[in-house]
């Protein structure tokens, strides 16, 4: 992460602006307040991306260390939260690159359409009609988390940011430094992948 060149983009003020300006003006003891505001969000992002608690903790710590190192370069051109996730995403990708050398698997749309022959699913399955509060239980949440972890990383990050962390398509594109079109393509495939896993779970109780 190098120093950003000056730009003419308007400055975005959010709930964190005052705190960041205080930290950047030398009140570094206030950094712990910034950590308090986001440690839970980042910890959950880490758990969703890494699965393992220890890896998630490393990700949170490395992200905050990077945030402190580069906070003076933050130009308030986006919400602080989005910039924070950009640092976290970049930290996460670097960590994975260090630990894994296998090329990422691509998901193709074709692998999800085989079960979509016309008439093949002529009725909406029960699990898609049950209210969420009746459907959700610990076992299902675990199944979903395992399914998310089995997604190739580039798809996992998109679905985590969009459908779990609540970022918009444009924000996700900014955080991951990819185009909005690419976000949409990856998101659709990731969702279809998860849907297949859930279909399997509800059909076989796996």
């Amino acid at each position: 992460m190098t120093a950003a060149p000056p730009s003419n983009r308007p400055k975005i003020n959010d709930n964190d602006t005052e705190l960041i300006e205080a930290i950047n003006s030398g009140q570094t003891e206030k950094f712990s307040e910034l950590v308090r505001r986001y440690e839970q969000k980042l910890y959950n992002f880490g758990r969703r991306m890494c699965g393992d608690a220890a890896d998630a903790e490393d990700l949170v710590q490395d992200t905050f260390l990077n945030v402190f190192r580069y906070l003076k370069d933050f130009r308030h051109e986006t919400k602080f939260k989005n910039w924070l996730y950009r640092v976290a995403a970049s930290t996460c990708i670097k960590k994975r690159r260090r630990s894994k050398f296998a090329p990422e698997r691509e998901l193709s749309l074709e692998e999800f359409v085989s079960g979509e022959e016309p008439g093949a699913a002529a009725q909406v399955p029960d699990w898609a009609q049950i209210p969420l509060e009746k459907l959700l239980n610990e076992e299902l949440v675990q199944t979903l988390h395992q399914a998310i972890l089995s997604l190739p990383e580039q798809y996992r990050m998109v679905v985590v940011l969009r459908d779990m962390e609540g970022f918009s398509t444009e924000e996700t594109a900014q955080i991951m430094n990819i185009s909005s079109t690419n976000v949409k393509v990856r998101l659709h495939r990731a969702r279809l992948f998860l849907r297949e896993k859930l279909k399997g779970y509800f059909a076989h109780g796996l």
């Binding site: 030398g26 570094t28 003891e29 950094f31 712990s32 950590v35 440690e39 839970q40 910890y43 959950n44 758990r47 608690a53 903790e57 949170v60 710590q61 905050f64 260390l65 402190f68 749309l109 074709e110 359409v113 979509e116 022959e117 016309p118 008439g119 093949a120 699913a121 002529a122 009725q123 909406v124 399955p125 699990w127 898609a128 009609q129 969420l132 459907l135 959700l136 299902l140 949440v141 979903l144 988390h145 998310i148 679905v159 459908d163 779990m164 609540g166 398509t169 949409k184 998101l187 659709h188 969702r191 279809l192 998860l194 849907r195 859930l198 279909k199």
Partner: protein
Amino acid sequence: MACDNPEHRHCLELFEKLSEYIDQELESETHRHVEAHVAECLACSACLQTLKQTIALCRQAGERSVPAAFSRKLHAVLQSTTKPPLP
């Protein structure tokens, strides 16, 4: 994905757009087109409902609390790193 059945081809074309349809990111004409098709095609309607439920489950999957021991360690590490150097 070769297919001679025009109905099936139509379903597959719309299959690609279902996420954008759910997210209200399609142009209004395409949105109406998908809406009309889903209203008539049971297979696509089932596909749409299962996809919607998948997304809803992701959104409601909940958050874990940060383990207290990790939070203490994190604040201690960051405090020692961010402390300004002594004059």
